[in-house]
Amino acid sequence: MLEPLEERLDQPLPAEDQDKEYVGFATLPNQVHRKSVKKGFDFTLMVAGESGLGKSTLVNSLFLTDLYKDRKLLNAEERITQTVEITKHTVDIEEKGVKLKLTIVDTPGFGDAVNNTECWKSVADYIDQQFEQYFRDESGLNRKNIQDNRVHCCLYFISPFGHGLRPLDVEFMKALHEKVNIVPVLAKADTLTPLEVKKKKIKIREEIEQYGIKIYQFPDCDSDEDEEFKQQDQELKDSIPFAVIGSNTVVEAKGKRVRGRLYPWGIVEVENPAHCDFVKLRNMLVRTHMQDLKDVTRETHYENYRAHCIQSMTRMVVKERNRNKLTRESGTDFPIPTAPGVSDSETEKLIREKDEEVRQPPHTQTQEQECVTQECVDQECVMHDECVQESVQEECVMQEESVQEAEHCAELC
């Protein structure tokens, strides 16, 4: 997954470009890539849903780990007095030289009581706490080593035994859709026939729309991507909610050893796309959309939180302060063509350092940025994709210009 990128950049440029117009910053992604591989990535995933829906098993299957080895299942009596807890497990995974620090946030006790009113409150509070922590760190003096504990994605497990969404599901998702990226997942899908899966998905999608729940939207692919990619993307969008099956055990199926579940009437293979959407979910989560999830968390959910926070802190001078902070912030994003696996956080740091050297004037960007981001921030509602896309594109355009400016300045000085 990383080789093609290098290949592309190492190809010799057409002869015309090889004169003085060739500056060389096209290798920047390469440098970023190397730096980020050294540093490693982090990702925080939250799993939520009633107990017994296979959350832990799915997490183990997704990341091929055994995070819940010594888990002791409580019996019903013990669980009477249990409130919703938040537990964190962190694991470091390395693959082909790339390190990932994965944090799984679990919510045991959710939906288990007889009276589940407001059981999502502790979850919402946890997410806000992480935002607050980051906000504080970011506004602090020493910002070299900020730990990003913000929740990047929340997998919400919907029970396959109901008729679509339950009242608890709706309430949870509505309470959290503006704080975190929600990816709904249809749990234990091996209990459903293919037709039932299809019908349930349609029903759930309808209900999500009906109740106005804003789940994580996949970004549209560029119009210049090839047909196959677009088709894959469309298939992905049509598979929401992902019907998944998880397994901790390896079974023999057709001579191969695969992760699966052995029933008297057949073997369910977890990684078989004809059996469930596990592969799609894994690809989405890890291989293609991890970066986008982090971006949306950073740009949308966190910014909303921040705006809220700041607005409530000071009623006056909100607009100007917002303006300034946004500029500084957004001025550091670099438009790297989305090669999977490249992290923005490293880019940010890189660019920030560059910034300090060059001392960019903030005002050239302010005016244009304003009108786009202003409407998104001042309103209480979540930024829509178009808005984000627009602003990102705007930023792209801006940054290119600004970097050229910067180079110019550097040359002149």
Binding site: N75, G266, I267
Partner: protein, 361 residues
Amino acid sequence: MSEIVPPEVRPKPAVPAKPSHVAPPSSAPFVPSPQGTGGEGQGSGRGSALLGYIGIDTIIEQMRKKTMKAGFDFNIMVVGQSGLGKSTLVNTLFKSQVSRRSTSWSRDEKIPKTVEIKSVSHVIEEGGVKMKLTVVDTPGFGDQINNDNCWEPISKHINEQYEKFLKEEVNIARKKRIPDTRVHCCLYFISPTGHSLRQLDIEFMKHLSRVVNIIPVIAKSDTLTPEEKTEFKQRVRKELEVCGIECYPQKEFDEDMEDKSDNDKIRETMPFAVVGSDKEYQVNGKRVLGRKTAWGVVEVENPNHCEFSLLRDFMIRSHLQDLKEVTHNIHYETYRAKRLNDNGGLHPISSSGHDTQESNL
């Protein structure tokens, strides 16, 4: 028929039941009288001391005829969260569309805000025997966010049926056959999480196991592998024991060793892990009821796949009458005793208007 026979005598059912289980005592030979032996021994060597064949054993045949003419009532209640396959299971059990089958996908009805009680009655016939089957459904149970006391409407309904029966019983001019709407059996559907019972399950069963016969079943059990099934069942049984919940068949009502050993076997396999289906598929040349997935067909009546046939045999083929009797002799009597005690020995009279001096109390 429990309404005709006084409660103390419990004749074994004369209706078609598994021959190995039923051993009607009335067909057992009488104790030979001290005088005379052999005698003429007409016909078979039955009733060794009887001088001739009296024909007492034909009473079974007579009962049978009457029963068949009169027909049976059977009332079953299904309780569980929505979507656990309650209606499908009842339909599969009785091989007909007896339950209000929510055509789930195009369902316009929303989850009701409070637990409702919906009763549907059908008369089904088999082998000349008519049965009036009433299925009581409880939509809305356990579906809300706040499910506190959601068992109360159910409890109320059950007690109301007992009350109705009681009123009829203490009437001066009683009907020959009191219509029996009491719930004989309550199938409680446990969600197959694989972990253990949920709090709601325990609360419900605690409140209602003394009022009605509860048979817990594990719904949609095709989601559990055989190992998971065994573990889950063990855990559930243990939890029920710890909480002091007695499901049907209750240990305390086992009459003799034979009953006890039969029932013990049943208790070992409870709760039954079931799968319901109303669709048929071809498997190995046979048409079977089942569920077809991408990796195989789950056969409903295959004992290796699920315990549906065990449940059916238990509930319908061997213990149907027993369910009714326990309901009448034990649960109903408990209710009646409580009612009478509460009113200090007197009870509000029915529509006849006389003061209560009835000695049939």
